[in-house]
């Protein structure tokens, strides 16, 4: 039991809130209790504290559940709640907008006891978080969009929401198989560890995804880091799939739909400029 509190006057509000917050998040049963002489209601204080604990931990589990649907589907509701409650106790949110809560949940569940047979679980969670983040963005926003001027006065405008996502598993297909409960596909996909690269962006119809190769990923990574067109092309070439930029654009980048092309007369004097 925690140290007794002088209830003649009672603890200060700050002290009471500190003790109550600790009791609500505690995993240890003894630490979940507060001295009963703090309370004077029709029920023991522990009954009310249990209601509040259930509300707090339930709300946080539900917030995570909405972001990590496939993870929950894969491990089951009870096991997901166990991971979510452990996470909530270790890393409670710092702000009331719970859409932002869970950014490091994927890292937290990496190696979580009981998930040893699911080595791809954390990577699946990282992918779901990226989808969730993009899904919360407003479609069609050009603010912050990056553009690259390539030789010949052609400007490439990348979607402002464009993100490059790398994984050691085919997480897009894993997620589809899990949500579709396609156990046959899942059994095959879990053995397909490798290097997977995705371009993800927010379109009007939702989050879009394109699987891309190493050269295209190198090009996009450089562009997203603010490098100019020449540096981006060099980055693509350095990845061992050297192609001329036209070929790369035609085969992988242009069909994906996350950029548009514009001929720009006025930028001819600065043919490799990158802007945001």
């Amino acid at each position: 039991m925690p140290a007794p509190i002088n209830t003649l006057k009672g603890p200060s509000l700050a002290m009471l809130q500190s003790q109550m917050a600790a009791a609500l998040l505690a995993a240890d049963r003894e630490a979940q209790e507060l001295p009963e002489d703090l309370f004077a209601g029709a029920h023991p204080g522990s009954v009310g504290l249990r209601v509040h604990r259930n509300t707090v931990l339930g709300a946080l589990s539900n917030a995570l559940r909405s972001s990590f649907r496939a993870v929950e589907h894969l491990v089951g509701e009870a096991f997901f709640d166990a991971m979510a409650v452990a996470y909530a106790r270790a890393r409670p949110p710092e702000a009331p907008q719970l859409d932002d809560y869970g950014a490091d949940f994927p890292s937290f569940i990496d190696g979580f006891p009981g998930t040893e047979a699911l080595p791809f679980l954390a990577e699946l969670a990282h992918f779901e978080w990226r989808l969730d983040e993009l899904g919360r963005q407003r479609a069609g926003r050009l603010a912050g969009a990056r553009s690259l001027l390539i030789a010949g006065g052609v400007r490439l405008h990348l979607e402002a929401s464009l993100r490059l996502h790398l994984s050691n598993y085919p997480v897009d297909r894993l997620r589809e198989a899990i949500l579709a409960e396609d156990t046959g596909a899942l059994a095959i996909l879990v053995h397909q560890a490798g290097s997977y690269r995705y371009a993800l962006w927010r379109a009007e119809a939702g989050v879009k995804l394109a699987r891309i190769g190493a050269a295209a990923a190198g090009f996009l990574e450089a562009a997203l880091l603010g490098q100019d067109a020449e540096q981006a092309i060099n980055a693509a070439s350095a990845l061992g799939e050297a192609e001329e930029i036209a070929g790369l654009l035609a085969k992988e980048i242009l069909p994906a739909g996350f950029l548009r092309i514009e001929a720009v007369e006025s930028d001819k004097n600065n043919p490799m400029k990158s802007t945001t």
Binding site: Q17, M20, A42, H52, V56, A95, R138, A139
Partner: protein
């Protein structure tokens, strides 16, 4: 305190708590609803949902009902959260802004619940200070709601109704009177809900009551065997709460009344049905009661006479 005028005031009619699964239907069919209320925290990190809400806002008056200001925090109101709410208020121009007589933030941690306060002089001073700060930042008076309670502190020396009345008197905030919460708290404390409501009516200045909430709740058996009522907003409003609502509007007059439903969300038409019932009671009252008065700057009645 400066005050900005709401572009679309909330009418003294029955409105509906708008939740995201209903956004699409509301945008596509523009259903009959006097006004909508949303939790602003659901739009602070979700620009996609905010874009939808802005479109809803074009056709309906809107109220922002916050859950994260933590007006009872001994550490004060979180500056960053207040700024996020301030930005939303100027973007959405809601007719009302409200939060709860509770706390949820301590030591930089947010606990997503409406945690109870001891109703003490110290707590009253702290809540007054926090409400004044919020109103200063937002440039408008807010409404503060009585929460459902599941425990009572030994340090509570001020009756809840008088605590909220004193808060309204000292800060010029209004009161969001949640009838379901009165019923849930009374049952959980083994008090007579009718007597508790009468105490509220006696303590509150009717002019300070700017909005009423109605919701369903759950009845559960605690592990220790006690029956508890949980304010889960997951069912139709029960008969006992409808009866208390009639008494409340007979006393306070017709007020903007919200149907809240958060868990096990039903079809939008069920919410419209509940709102229609509330509206029928408001219509009856409106024929006999005084017109809906302006809430800010109300002339308070004598209530809790504790130290200021």
């Amino acid at each position: 305190m400066s005050e900005s005028s709401a572009v679309h005031p909330i009418p003294a009619q029955a409105g509906i708590g708008l939740r995201m699964p209903h956004h699409g239907q509301v945008l596509a069919t523009r259903p009959r609803a006097a006004w909508f209320e949303v939790h602003p925290e659901n739009f602070m990190a979700n620009d996609s949902a905010l874009a939808e809400l802005e479109r809803v806002r074009e056709n309906y008056p809107l109220s922002l009902h916050a859950v994260g200001l933590s007006l009872g925090s001994a550490g004060g109101v979180d500056r960053a959260h207040l700024e996020r709410l301030r930005q939303l208020r100027y973007r959405l121009e809601p007719g009302l802004v409200s939060d709860h007589l509770s706390w949820s933030i301590h030591g930089g941690q947010y606990l997503p619940d409406l945690l109870p306060l001891p109703y003490s002089e110290e707590a009253l001073d702290i809540v007054c200070r926090n409400v004044e700060r919020v109103q200063q930042a937002l440039g408008t008076a807010i409404l503060v709601e009585n929460p459902s309670t599941y425990l009572r502190f030994a340090a509570s020396v001020i009756p809840e109704a008088e605590f909220l009345a004193a808060l309204a008197r000292r800060t010029d905030c209004g009161v969001l009177f949640d009838v379901n919460n009165v019923y849930v708290s009374a049952c959980n404390q083994r008090s007579d809900a009718g007597e508790v409501l009468a105490n509220w009516c006696s303590a509150l200045d009717p002019a300070s009551v700017g909005e009423i909430h109605l919701a369903g709740h759950a009845v559960v058996q605690a592990a220790s065997g006690e029956e508890l009522r949980i304010d889960d907003h997951g069912d139709r409003i029960c008969e006992a709460v409808w009866a208390l609502y009639e008494q409340a509007i007979q006393h306070f007059g017709a007020r903007p009344t919200l149907i809240e439903w958060d868990t096990r969300l039903p079809a939008f038409e069920v919410l419209q049905d509940e709102a229609a019932h509330a509206q029928s009671l408001l219509d009856l009252i409106a024929r006999h009661a005084p017109a809906y008065p302006p809430m800010p700057g109300h002339q308070p009645q004598a209530a809790y006479a504790g130290a200021n």
